[in-house]
């Protein structure tokens, strides 16, 4: 392995989240939720929260590091970092940025955080109600193509057409999240199991997505503490080492008005190649995967582009049995993820990836050693992360 990587030099030492709420149900501000998650993550790691000197987030999180550091009385603010790009594509990328800063020696303890109370600031699932629109959205919104579901259904439709794929893989992905959420008391959909009939009878949002193909809208916050491997060994928790972290976007994926040359894609082709190259492993070595579900079709393409099966193997490989902890070849979204635990913009996928390595998941994979996260399919940029045990 090359010296010029962050591989095994950095670890996640603390994880936390607030209670997760349905949109609009949180009884305190988004900023307070964010502070609560950061304080709890520091406590989980066994560090003084005032010693956190680096802050990384993504998706234009409203809760900026100068305000947080001032509110907490942080001793030093050495890194104030935002991963550009919308959606959840920056979840693993924010960890990647933290890794780079730690290896460079810019800071000692980084918190990667996301605070998001859609009930207080507007819903991602609603279209703009502005009178006028200009620029890129002027070529889509007047046609009623306004929401993330509508933006991404078009890509998924093309992928399904190109590879002759039916709806069953989408149903399996949705049911896997709901199945695992039934073990997880933190999950918003805990106690709300989903049957095949429930899925098949649910209403269309935008074809090919039914209601249960779409993520929730929630209130809450989550945070993870990242530090050097050396420091991590002295902290309270068993470190989850970062084996690889990569971010990026394929050729012209952000071309306007749906003109990305490679269209039916989750945008992970180059990112996944870099990820495995850095990790020095193959998809077969991955014990467990948390793959960001904005919409199930994005998960389908993410798993293909991370090498778990070929496009023409999707219908055989992507079954509920294969995704379940215990029986599955690739246990998937074992906390319930964005569909059924909480839409904490995919940071809940990273806390779950760490729990699997600690052995504290509510749907624990036995002897999990290599734990993957894929953040934000179909947006630009996207990012991925591989964590491992000692």
């Amino acid at each position: 392995m090359s010296e010029n990587t962050i591989s095994r030099k950095v670890a996640i030492s603390g994880i936390a989240e607030t209670a997760y709420y349905k949109r609009g149900a949180a009884d305190r501000s988004e900023f307070q939720l964010t502070l609560e998650a950061i304080i709890a993550a520091a406590d989980d790691a066994g560090i003084d929260v005032r010693d956190i000197d680096g802050f990384c987030s993504y998706s234009n999180d409203r809760n900026d590091p100068p305000r947080i550091a001032s509110a907490l009385g942080s001793k030093d603010l050495s890194l104030s970092n935002m991963f550009w790009g919308g959606g959840g594509g920056g979840g693993s990328g924010a960890v990647a940025n933290a890794c780079a800063a730690l290896v460079a020696g810019y800071c000692k303890y980084v918190v990667v955080y996301r605070g998001l109370a859609q009930g207080q600031f507007g819903r991602f699932g609603q279209g703009s109600q502005a009178k006028f629109v200009s620029g890129g959205p002027a070529f889509t919104q007047p046609y009623g193509l306004m929401s993330p579901a509508q933006t991404f259904a078009m890509r998924v439709r093309r992928f399904m057409h190109d590879h002759h794929i039916g709806h069953e893989p989408l149903r399996a992905i949705s049911m896997a999240s709901y199945y695992h959420a039934q073990f997880n008391p933190r999950a918003v959909m805990h106690g709300r199991p989903l049957s095949e009939e429930d899925y098949d009878n649910s209403r269309w949002i935008v074809e090919p997505f039914r209601l249960f193909d779409c993520c929730m809208e929630n209130d809450g916050a989550a945070a993870v503490i990242v530090t050097t491997a050396e420091r991590a060994r002295d902290l309270k928790q068993k470190p989850a080492y970062v084996l690889a972290a990569s971010q990026g976007s394929d050729y012209r994926q952000a071309a306007g008005a749906h003109n990305a040359p490679d269209y039916g894609t989750s945008n992970f082709k180059t990112v996944a190649a870099r990820l495995y190259g850095q990790a020095g492993i193959t998809p077969r070595d991955v014990d467990i995967c948390q793959s960001y579900e904005n919409f199930t079709g994005g998960v389908m393409m993410s798993l293909v582009e991370h090498g778990f099966c070929a496009p023409d193997e999707v219908e055989d490989f992507m079954t509920l049995e294969n995704f379940k902890v215990g029986s599955g070849k690739l246990p998937l979204n074992t906390s319930g993820g964005n569909l059924a635990e909480c839409y904490m913009h995919g940071l809940e996928l990273i806390t779950e990836a760490v729990r699997q390595l600690r052995g504290t998941s509510t749907a624990q994979v036995s002897d999990a050693r290599i734990s993957m996260v894929c953040s934000g399919p179909m947006v630009q940029p996207v990012s991925s992360l591989i964590l491992c045990k000692e």
């Binding site: 070529f139 007047p142 193509l145 306007g256």
Partner: protein, 145 residues
């Protein structure tokens, strides 16, 4: 010109960008002409509009009138309204149309007609200019050819 529009009034109305990037496109649609960007240096097509040719990096981009004949590249039938103006308009059909005579650039629009009709990727469509009665703008829509 159609007497009614495919979607109800009340959705965001397109306005030319403040920096002038797409002014010619919106002016052309009012004349019932469909134009896309074409590089004057390398003759490459591109869409959506941008200030530079991604192929040769020339900033000297012009506008090229195209036939309005296209092919359906992808589609979606929308059932859940995400805007108050769409509450009574679902389901409706949005298509992504490839333009073979303009370097296969793609455009988003509505597919006119019954939204419950089957849509076949690869089937031909042609542009229809839909004047928006109250707004002074014209949208480019598509119908089966």
């Amino acid at each position: 010109m159609t007497a009614t529009t495919y979607l109800p009034a009340g959705l965001p109305v397109p306005a030319a960008a403040g920096d002038g990037l797409d002014t010619e496109y919106w002016e052309a649609t009012k004349r019932h002409e469909l134009v896309v960007q074409r590089c004057k240096a390398c003759q490459g097509f591109q869409w959506g509009p941008e200030w530079i040719c991604y192929q040769c990096h020339s900033f000297d981009l012009g506008w090229h009138r195209v036939s309005g004949r296209g092919v359906i590249y992808s589609w979606e039938r929308i059932w859940h309204p995400v805007h108050p103006a769409l509450r009574e308009a679902c389901p409706y059909m949005v298509v992504l149309v490839e333009l073979p005579d303009a370097g296969n650039v793609r455009m988003v629009g509505n597919l006119l007609g019954d939204p419950m009709d089957d849509v076949v990727i690869g089937s031909p469509v042609e542009a229809v200019f839909e004047d928006q009665p109250d707004d002074g703008v014209t949208l480019v829509q598509w119908r089966r050819a």
